[in-house]
Symmetry: C2
C-alpha cells in the first residue's frame, strides 16, 4: 500500500505498463512475449474487479487458451483486429466489438493477433475468490491461493 | 431466463438499448432523458459485473451525482467529451480517458455532457449484494433489495 493520492481521471495510455512478467512456465511464456497490460482500475482504488488496457503486438497472444471457475471476463476491442478462439472456433474481433466469458463454462478462450498492426483492447475481470484456471490445450492449471496464483500440472504437481 | 444462444462476440453498437426507463422519481428523471444504455455483458451470461455502452446526447447526465456503498464503478470514454463532477470539482474526460469510483468513499460522481456532440463511453459496475446508493445533492437514496432497487427519501420513506 502506498499513500499515492488517487487521481480524478487518467489518460489510459499514459499509465505505465505492468512490470511483472508473465507467471507462465517458461515453455509457455514466449506466446505472450511483448504483451503490455496497463492496470486502469487499481490507481483509483477499485477492488471488486480489474480493468486492463492490453496491447498485443503482431504475433502475440492474450494468454494461453483458458477458462475460469469463478471469475467472469469481458473484452472490448479499441484498435486492430484480434482472432478470438474458443470451443466454437475462430471469430474476428474488430474495433467496437466485444465478447464475454462467463465463469464455469469450461469453454476456453484467448485472443491471437494475426494482423500486421497492434491490437488494443480493454479487458475486465472480477476478483471472486477461490478461482481456478484450466488451460484445455496444455498440461497446465492455475489455482488462486492466499499468496497469489500457483501454476500446476493437471495432476496437481507444481511447475 | 431464455434459451437464446450466447453469441461468440457482438458489435457493441448493434446491441439494442435497454428499454426500461429510468427508475428515478419523475422530478429527477428529466436529467437523464435521452441516455441510452446497451448492456454488453448480459448477452454473454456474465453475472459478476455488468458492462454498459452508454450514450449521452448533448445536455444529458449519466446519472444524478451518487456514490455506492459496496459496488465499484469504472468508466472509459470512447467518443465525445464528458465533464466528471465529484467532491474535487470538475474534470474533463476526453476519448481514451478513464475514471474509477471505489465503493464506500462517500464521494459522489456523475458525468455531464456539456458539449455539442454525443458522449459514448463504457461503464463497468460489479454486482456485490447489499448495495446502497446515496445522492449527496438530493433528498434521495436507493437501496438494493431482493426485488431490485427501491428509491427512498433520506429518512427512509418511499417516493
Amino acid at each position: 500500500m502506498t499513500d499515492t493520492p488517487r487521481p480524478n481521471a487518467l489518460e489510459a495510455l499514459a499509465v505505465a505498463p505492468r512490470a511483472r512478467p508473465s507467471i507462465y512456465p517458461p515453455q509457455f511464456a514466449q506466446r505472450v512475449a511483448g504483451r503490455e497490460k496497463r492496470a486502469l482500475g487499481d490507481p483509483f482504488g477499485l477492488k471488486n474487479f480489474g480493468v486492463n488496457l492490453t496491447r498485443l503486438p503482431p504475433g502475440c497472444q492474450s494468454a494461453l487458451r483458458h477458462t475460469h471457475a469463478t471469475q467472469d471476463e469481458f473484452v472490448y476491442v479499441l484498435e486492430g483486429t484480434a482472432i478470438l478462439i474458443t470451443d466454437e472456433g475462430e471469430t474476428e474481433l474488430r474495433p467496437g466489438m466485444c465478447a464475454g466469458f462467463p465463469a464455469g463454462t469450461g469453454n476456453g478462450h484467448h485472443l491471437v493477433n494475426r494482423g500486421a498492426e497492434a491490437v488494443l483492447y480493454l479487458e475486465v475481470g472480477d476478483r471472486t475468490p477461490g478461482d481456478t484456471v484450466i488451460y484445455p490445450d496444455e498440461d497446465l492449471m492455475a489455482v488462486l491461493g492466499p499468496d497469489g496464483w500457483a501454476m500446476l500440472h493437471k495432476d496437481g504437481t507444481p511447475y
